[in-house]
Symmetry: C2
Amino acid sequence: MSRKYPSTLLENAVNELASLPGVGRKTALRLALYMLRRDVEYTENFASALLDLRRDVQYCKVCHNICDDETCAICADTNRDHSLVCVVENIKEVMAIENTGQFRGVYHVLGGIISPIDGIGPGDLEIDSLIRRVASGEVKEVILALSTTMEGDTTNFFIYRKLAAYDVKVSVIARGVSIGDEIEYADEITLGRSILNRTSFNDSIKI
Amino acid sequence: MSRKYPSTLLENAVNELASLPGVGRKTALRLALYMLRRDVEYTENFASALLDLRRDVQYCKVCHNICDDETCAICADTNRDHSLVCVVENIKEVMAIENTGQFRGVYHVLGGIISPIDGIGPGDLEIDSLIRRVASGEVKEVILALSTTMEGDTTNFFIYRKLAAYDVKVSVIARGVSIGDEIEYADEITLGRSILNRTSFNDSIKI
């Protein structure tokens, strides 16, 4: 539907807002009108927070997590186990795993996963720097925590092959029926794998 | 859920994005990370479009519609019928009615409706300027096109009472069963009113 906007300033703002993923033109118009109802400072703070993020954000030189300094708080934490490296796709997964409070190792953020359909190859990801971390001899175990998709499995396998030359344990996070899920509603592949990869009952009650 | 952000710049940006209506913290994080994946110019254009809108937007001195000049394109259009004024709540309704292509009069944007629960009284709306437009003698008919809610009805009645002193026709947009709706699913109040306010079949086939 073509819409006529009463002001080009409004139209430009709607165009920019609608360029965000998941934001349609109707929502964009609602957001633009919301800003007009708030005072000028609101939009100024809004705009400068986004500009500051985009212009001044840094990436940890060790794990490529987002941070405010050269090294992120996790890599700088001497209480964490730096020999245990969890490989994730993006910083969202770092935040999700940190929120579990179950992991005391460090991370390696790939910045994506191998996806030929999107034109993303191994060279576009931080895989070489992962190999260098392992080659330095400090890493004892690499945990692959990528999505269970074809792209995730491809990336897992690529990294696994690259790491085969080094004396390092490579593991993947456990796949199985989610806690709280009813067995009859679990999908067949997950349920099948959860039977193949069953754990000792003694181990399971320790958690 | 409390989330720890790896960067205060990221946290600030997420806070600002999540302050928008309908945007939660998860969506805000996704939008912030999207901006980090795009080049710097993207965020700069985004921020300046919003700032330009908020700082430079003007409101038409006649109808209070958003515009780029002192008078909006609709009020400046001499081909339109300036004796026919459609009263709406906001500029979204102006755009919706303009999109129908059925209206060749002009508008009057109230900037809200009377809502005691939100602390909005008649003095907060552009009602006085509507009365002045009518008092000038140029307006022959005022069409009230507000929402069919208690607040809309209250505002309609308030304006109707204020205009009683002037020689002007006051009408409201037709209420009835939507075109394409099946009668059996129409709500009782709408259906009842559509029978009371029935129109001549001859009139209905002209449209």
